[in-house]
Symmetry: C2
Subunit: 308 residues, 2 copies
């Protein structure tokens, strides 16, 4: 069975949207990624850090899904990373109210031996130095390294970020970040500029407007499913990344066509994530429910009548 | 051969974008619609009004493409509708600098007898009273009536707009207008609310983010082609509408599947429209060039590997 190693945050979030509010929900990129990737027949390992306030039920939630937590450091007397945000009425923009790094401030990732030869490595949005440290700990170059990053690292650690970009295969970032990283407004030009920095593939996430996959001279678009209601977009991007990494790990073969499907699987899982606050929906989602909805993505974009 | 009757504006535009500027270019919804629809094997008639400053070369441009102008009133001593706008750096937002209605202010549409039994009627964005007057002049109910409107009519003539909505088949508007008309933020809910007002189909245009087609319980998404450069988005929405109306008129059969293809044809033609300022690109575009690009739309969204 293929192994997917996920490096990212495990957190507690407080979220407020026009439709609801939660004072404390499981959050963090690694949590969402692992919950999504657990729908595929693979072994998942997380490298992260939490405080000893991290609840047993949330550790159990992961181990119940066969997620290996031997790479998750639990800091005695430490507090888990905490994030709080409030969404505006359009659900596309939000204010960050609190970011308490807590134990994350001194995070020094340690890849467990059992995952040092993982086939797929997903480096969540963290300091590029941490991402490099994980790459350095891999005994075998993974078949695919997927990277997420954000405007903060683009602005503050551009040199280290360039180094990471030279060592990965897929960069998955949102449209504004792609523009910032490349200095190009057109997403086609932005993708070209990013491909020139090293990655073989670039995935540009556009939230409710879907996601684009670029390879040299090729482009694919995965739509977001039009939904009646979005309760909370938190974690949708990580769920998307987790779904695509999980699918690719399970398919044991990497190509542009496989990545197309991976994006669709990611978009499919993300369409569930936003249905409830925090990780709530992803905690109850069954793989049967997820499979059933996949057909909607074909119906949404496929046309069968001849065009000419 | 099927007939498509187009009611809309013929205008002169002055356009400024970050990439170029023109003091006077052919504009108006009917001009863009007819240029796009002329790529299909149909008869096109325009109902519009211009001043006698409207240049012979622009009349010739239309008649050279077999567009019937007997419904275009040329007002002696009158001036043609003039619009001027400046696009911001993101190319998605613009300021209107001048709107001189001129002859359009007293426009009283007269449908030529040869088009009173047209199979397809496209009512461009105009006062709902004008749209109703055209509907009343049709001797036979067209097989498909497509309507465009805008925020101004939603705000200022809601009663008359409701009347028109009860007499058409397809409403094609942009996302903000759909939200305003329905009072719903979710586009899925907005479409449901609009379908309840009468139209059988709703098309929601999202500019560079593509367009959604809704029928009761069905949805289709046509992407916009990711482009290296957009020179000028003016007329893209009208070109999209003209392409879809032209395709439907030529196909002589109306169904959800046919409309899917119609949206793809519309998006394909719109991808050319934005390549140059004003109508410039649409004036030179050949049907062979248009057909060739259609394949990109399949490549962009179709995935072939099994999903489960």
């Amino acid at each position: 069975m293929s192994k997917l190693l996920v490096v990212g945050t495990m957190a507690y979030d407080a979220i407020e949207t026009p439709f609801g509010k939660t004072e404390k929900t499981l959050g963090g990129s690694a949590s969402y990624i692992a919950l999504a990737a657990s729908h595929f027949d693979i072994e998942i390992g997380i490298v992260s850090v939490v405080g000893d306030d991290f609840e047993q039920k949330h550790l159990d939630l992961m181990t119940d899904r066969q997620v290996n937590l031997s790479g998750v450091e639990i800091v005695k007397g430490g507090k888990t990373f905490f994030w709080s945000g409030r969404y505006h009425n359009d659900m596309n923009t939000r204010d960050t109210l609190v970011t308490d790094l807590n134990t994350l401030a001194d995070f020094s990732p340690l890849v467990p031996e059992s995952f040092q030869e993982a086939e797929i490595l997903l480096l969540g949005n963290l300091h590029p130095a941490i991402q490099i440290s994980v790459l350095d700990q891999m005994k075998k170059r993974p078949n695919l390294v997927i990277l997420d990053t954000m405007n903060y690292w683009i602005e503050n650690t551009p040199g280290q970020l360039e180094t990471v970009l030279g060592r990965i295969d897929v960069l998955a970032i949102n449209d504004e970040e792609a523009r910032q990283l490349s200095g190009e407004y057109s997403l086609v030009k932005a993708a070209e500029a990013i491909l020139a920095k090293g990655p073989k593939y670039v995935i540009i996430k556009k939230g409710e407007h879907g996601a684009l996959l670029f390879q040299k001279d090729q482009v694919f678009f995965a739509p977001a499913l039009p939904l009646e209601e979005v309760s909370d977009p938190t974690g949708a991007g990580d769920t998307f990344a987790g779904g695509l990494a999980g699918y690719i790990a399970a398919s044991r073969h990497i190509s542009f066509d496989r990545l197309k499907n991976a994006l669709i699987h990611g978009a499919n899982l993300a369409s569930f994530c936003v249905e409830k606050l925090g990780t709530e929906r992803m905690e109850t989602l069954t793989s049967e429910e997820a499979k059933k909805r996949l057909q909607s993505f074909k119906d949404l974009t496929h046309f069968t009548v001849e065009l000419d």
